[in-house]
Every structure is written in structure tokens, then in C-alpha cells.
């Protein structure tokens, strides 16, 4: 795990196609022990990259999903109040002093660790994924800043807990809100764009084994066109993978107008987008019509499939 080439290889083994720029960013992040802020459109694999990184490093992935209203308590720790109550009740008759009982109640046994506290008490540096940090509010962002700088948490009843091992931090953002300058400066930054046509074909083959070459090409080409349309929700890589699986399960080895109609739900998730696509159908037609299958009325095409359903294509 020292250089970008190795990282790429390890990621590829786990069916994550990382380009050189992204792999180098990960390498720098690991070497500098700095958080990495990944921005990009939805569904390009920001979250997935953190999962794969944890796998590759052989450590735990601790995920903090951000949402509006997320506060420090929910991210750090809470006391297990019902359990404390129960314990207090049960130990009433023991005759121990108030101080002793208090110390028992406020011990680590009754502490519910939330992701941030958990990440600094791990025995081995985990990967801490702070997902969709743009959805949390600015107050939380300020708290996060402090956390990323200090790597310690003070619990009044227990004292200060310092990180034994700094976690590898990955933050993701969909740019629904502009992040503060301070947070940006604390992090390394990488922009993860939609994959290019070739990259997407590569990803499809890596993630959906047995996908016909021609189908992969058609899906990727159509995705390139769709992402250029003024859609409410442009399809990401996740959508193309879903779509490929759906088409495979329908035993399709190519895309025609009918197959597109049947499986459109995998690609366009907002009803209004269907109208947008229909308005631009001329842009899609060359891809669909380019398939020999469309002309041969559903016959198996020779170059991809010898009538055995599908052929596995070599990974590139």
C-alpha cells in the first residue's frame, strides 16, 4: 500500500476502478495522515471508495452519515440511560456509597460510543467515513473541525480520551451546500467526476461479470448521453450497474427501445425525467438502433453470444 499503482491494483481486485489521480490522492492522504474530502455528483462511488479502502487496509470502516440536525451528541457518545437506571435500581440494596454507585454508572460499560468516539478508540486506525458532510449544518461542521484537529474527546464523567491511532478520514460531499473554507483547508481535496465512456465500460465489466461487451458499451454510451440531458437526477455509476444487472436478468444482450422501456426505472428515478428523455429521444436512438439485434428482431448476435445466454468477457 505504498504507491498509487498498488492502490489501483488492490482497488481493482475489489472491483473498484480508480483512476491514477484518485489513487494518488489516496496515497497522499495515507502518507500525510490528513482527511480527504471527496466531492462529486451522486452515485460516482464516493462512499464505495471508503468501503474499499477499509477492505484494502484490512481495518474497520466506521461510518458517520450526516443529516440535517445532526449534533455532536449523536456523533460522539451518549450514556445508556435505561441501562443506568436499571443498574441503579438493582444495586440499591448493595449498600455501596453514592460515589461508588455513581462511578459504576458512569463507566465505559454504560457509554454508547457513536462513530467519532468509536473511531478514536479502535486498536488499529480505522477508516472513518463522514458521509455527505454537506447535509449537516454549520455548527456541526465547526465541531468536526475541532475534532479533526485535536483527535480527542472530553467526557466530563470519564475524562479526556485521546486517539490511540488517528483514523483515516474520508469526507464526502454532494455540494448541496458550500462547505466552509476552514474545513476545506483542513482536508485534501479530490473531485470524483462521472467516469468516461471507457472507464464506465471497465467498471461495468469489473462489477457485473459476464456482461456482454456490446451491452456494456451501449449502457455506457447511453449514460454519457443521459448525463448530458437536463435531468432532475442524473444517473450515476450505481444506476448503470443496477441497469446492467436488470438487463442481464431479463437475458438481454443488447439494448433496444423495448428493453429500455422495460428497465427505465433503474436509470431514471424521477417521473419528470422520463418526459425529458422522451423529448430528447433523437439523441438516444443512434445508440439503440446501432445494435444489430434491433434489426434482426431479437436474434442472438454472433459476436457476443453463441446462444448460451452470455459469454464472460475478459477483464481489461
Amino acid at each position: 500500500m505504498t504507491d498509487a499503482a498498488t492502490i489501483r491494483e488492490r482497488f481493482r481486485e475489489r472491483a473498484f476502478i480508480a483512476d491514477e489521480a484518485f489513487a494518488t490522492a489516496l496515497q497522499i492522504m495515507l502518507a500525510l495522515e490528513k482527511p480527504l474530502l471527496i466531492e462529486g455528483p451522486a452515485g460516482v462511488g464516493k462512499t464505495e471508495s471508503a468501503k474499499v479502502l477499509a477492505e484494502v487496509l484490512g481495518t474497520r470502516l466506521i461510518r458517520l452519515q450526516c443529516y440535517e440536525g445532526l449534533d455532536a451528541i449523536a456523533a460522539l457518545y451518549e450514556w445508556n440511560y435505561p441501562r443506568q437506571m436499571l443498574h441503579a435500581r438493582l444495586s440499591e440494596s448493595e449498600g455501596s456509597s453514592l460515589e461508588e454507585r455513581e462511578a459504576q454508572i458512569f463507566s465505559e460499560r454504560f457509554l454508547l460510543k457513536r462513530p467519532l468516539l468509536e473511531s478514536i478508540t479502535e486498536a488499529q486506525s480505522p477508516v472513518l467515513l463522514i458521509d455527505e458532510v454537506d447535509r449537516a449544518d454549520e455548527a456541526f461542521e465547526a465541531f468536526l473541525l475541532e475534532m479533526l484537529a485535536e483527535w480527542q474527546v472530553t467526557i466530563p464523567e470519564l475524562g479526556t480520551i485521546r486517539a490511540r491511532h488517528k483514523p483515516h478520514v474520508i469526507l464526502t460531499s454532494n455540494r448541496t451546500r458550500e462547505l466552509s473554507d476552514a474545513l476545506r483547508r483542513r482536508c485534501l481535496f479530490v473531485w470524483l467526476p462521472y467516469p468516461s465512456l471507457d472507464q464506465e465500460i471497465d467498471i461495468l465489466h469489473a462489477r457485473v461479470p459476464g456482461l456482454a461487451e456490446r451491452l456494456a458499451h451501449q449502457i455506457a454510451s447511453l449514460m454519457q448521453v443521459l448525463r448530458g440531458l437536463p435531468l432532475r437526477k442524473a444517473p450515476g455509476v450505481a444506476e448503470s450497474l443496477d441497469w446492467a444487472l436488470a438487463l442481464m436478468s431479463l437475458h438481454r444482450d443488447h439494448l433496444d427501445a423495448r428493453a429500455l422501456e422495460q428497465t427505465l426505472g433503474c436509470v431514471l428515478k424521477v417521473h419528470e425525467d422520463h418526459a425529458v428523455m422522451n423529448a430528447h429521444h433523437t439523441a438516444l436512438e443512434p445508440i439503440l438502433e446501432g445494435a444489430p439485434g434491433a434489426l434482426e428482431s431479437g436474434g442472438h448476435s454472433r459476436e457476443t453470444d453463441f446462444g448460451f445466454g452470455s459469454v464472460s468477457t475478459p477483464r481489461r
Partner: protein, 247 residues
């Protein structure tokens, strides 16, 4: 091959360019990170260096988008004659009746230097565009001293331009001379001391202050403190100019 001798110097200069020209917000922290990032990648691999610097120096999508071009411009400035792709937009514009003095100078330089014979063959696109009348005013002529070593001969310039089928409209007597320092107002002037001036006359490359001359500028005038033009330098590297015309 890089603008400065040492890696830290190059990095600092590059960061200064990113800050000044592209609005990057780079502080000492980012600079430090960038230097550390360079320690972990293969420095002989241009891509690796680029990919290592991008995440450390850029903070927003805009930064990341313009980074590659800025990197190429700084570390691999465009070689000679590679500007054809940019030029037509200027030339074909019928509205513009002014060709920058940078281009005028370029044409002249090509015509003069025999090694650039190929370039002259390419040049026929030149007549397409109008060449601006030389902006020689009477006051210029009045100021003009008798032929000195730092002055262009207008007659000669006219001859060169005529080769492109566009004889310049010269106001005043054809044998008039004007101070060269005023002839090319678009070239930034870099003040050089007597010692450097001597070296430049002997063909040595010269450096210009990075705070005065933008690295994108192709030509600069080297001028003595007294205002005498020593040479015209062409960018070899950012801030490093080679005298192509010594006067």
C-alpha cells in the same frame, strides 16, 4: 528543465502563480502538505507529481479544474511556434484592425532568421489579417534622436512587413527613427543593470522579476536604467528569457 534550480523554489513559485492568477487559497499549511506529498511520489513521473499536488493545493472544484492547465503552463511552457492554434482567432476577426506588437515582432523575427525558414512558409496566413499602421506620431519623431544603437530602423521594418504584402502606412519620412522602447508598447520592460546588459549582449539568457512580468508573456524588453533598449527576450521558461534580438 524547470524554471528554478531547486524543488522548493519551483513549488513556491508555482503556488504564487496559482494564488495570483487562479485565485487558489494557498497558505503555508498547503505549501507544507504539497512538499510532503512530493516526498512520497516518484518525482520523475510528471503525472504522479501533478496528481500529488492537485489534492494538496486545490480546495474547490474550480481549483481542481484549472489546476492541470496551470501546472502545464508553469512547468512546461509552450515551445516555439506552438501558438498557431491560438492565433487565427485574432487574425480572422475582421473588426480588429490592430495586430499586437507581439505578433508584429514575431513576423519580423521569422523573416530575419534564416533558421526559421519553415516558419516563414507557414506564415502566408499573415496577409489575411490587416497589419496595423505603425503608430508613429509626430511627437515620436520629434523625440527621436539621430540613429542610435537602441533604435529600430523604420525603413527596415517596412521592408520586412512588405514581404508579407502589407506595406505599413508610415507617418512621416520613411527614414525616420523612433525609440525602440516606444515601438513595442505591449512588451513589458525589465530593467537590467550594466553587468546583465553586457551579458545579454553576449547572448546570455536573463531572468525577469516574477512580480513584474507574467509568465504567460512571450516577449520582454530588456531596458537599462537610462532607458536604452538592450534586447528583446523570448520566454524560454517562466521568468527566464533568451535574447532573440540584441541591439
Amino acid at each position: 528543465m524547470y524554471p528554478f534550480a531547486s524543488l522548493p523554489e519551483n513549488l513556491i513559485a508555482f503556488c504564487a502563480v496559482l494564488r495570483r492568477d487562479h485565485g487558489f487559497r494557498i497558505g503555508p499549511g498547503e505549501l507544507h502538505d504539497a512538499a510532503r506529498a512530493l516526498e512520497v511520489v516518484d518525482l520523475s513521473d510528471e503525472h504522479a507529481v501533478r496528481h500529488a499536488l492537485r489534492p494538496t493545493l486545490s480546495g474547490t472544484l474550480h481549483d481542481a479544474t484549472v489546476f492541470d492547465q496551470a501546472f502545464a503552463d508553469f512547468f512546461f511552457p509552450r515551445p516555439f511556434g506552438d501558438r498557431h492554434d491560438q492565433r487565427p482567432s485574432v487574425r480572422r476577426d475582421p473588426e480588429s484592425d490592430a495586430v499586437s506588437s507581439e505578433e508584429r515582432f514575431e513576423q519580423e523575427r521569422r523573416a530575419r532568421s534564416p533558421v526559421d525558414a519553415d516558419a516563414v512558409d507557414v506564415a502566408p496566413e499573415a496577409p489575411d489579417g490587416p497589419i496595423a499602421p505603425l503608430e508613429t506620431t509626430d511627437s515620436d519623431l520629434e523625440e527621436a534622436a539621430p540613429l542610435a544603437h537602441d533604435e529600430f530602423n523604420l525603413e527596415y521594418l517596412a521592408e520586412v512587413l512588405t514581404q508579407y504584402g502589407q506595406p505599413p502606412r508610415i507617418v512621416g519620412a520613411p527614414e525616420a527613427v523612433i525609440p525602440a522602447a516606444q515601438l513595442l508598447p505591449e512588451f513589458p520592460a525589465e530593467m537590467v543593470d550594466a553587468l546583465t546588459a553586457g551579458q545579454i549582449r553576449n547572448g546570455r539568457d536573463f531572468r525577469v522579476s516574477p512580480f513584474q512580468v507574467r509568465p504567460s508573456g512571450r516577449f520582454v524588453k530588456a531596458v537599462t536604467p537610462e532607458g536604452q533598449l538592450v534586447a528583446i527576450g523570448e520566454a524560454r521558461l517562466p521568468h527566464l528569457y533568451h535574447p532573440v534580438l540584441v541591439l
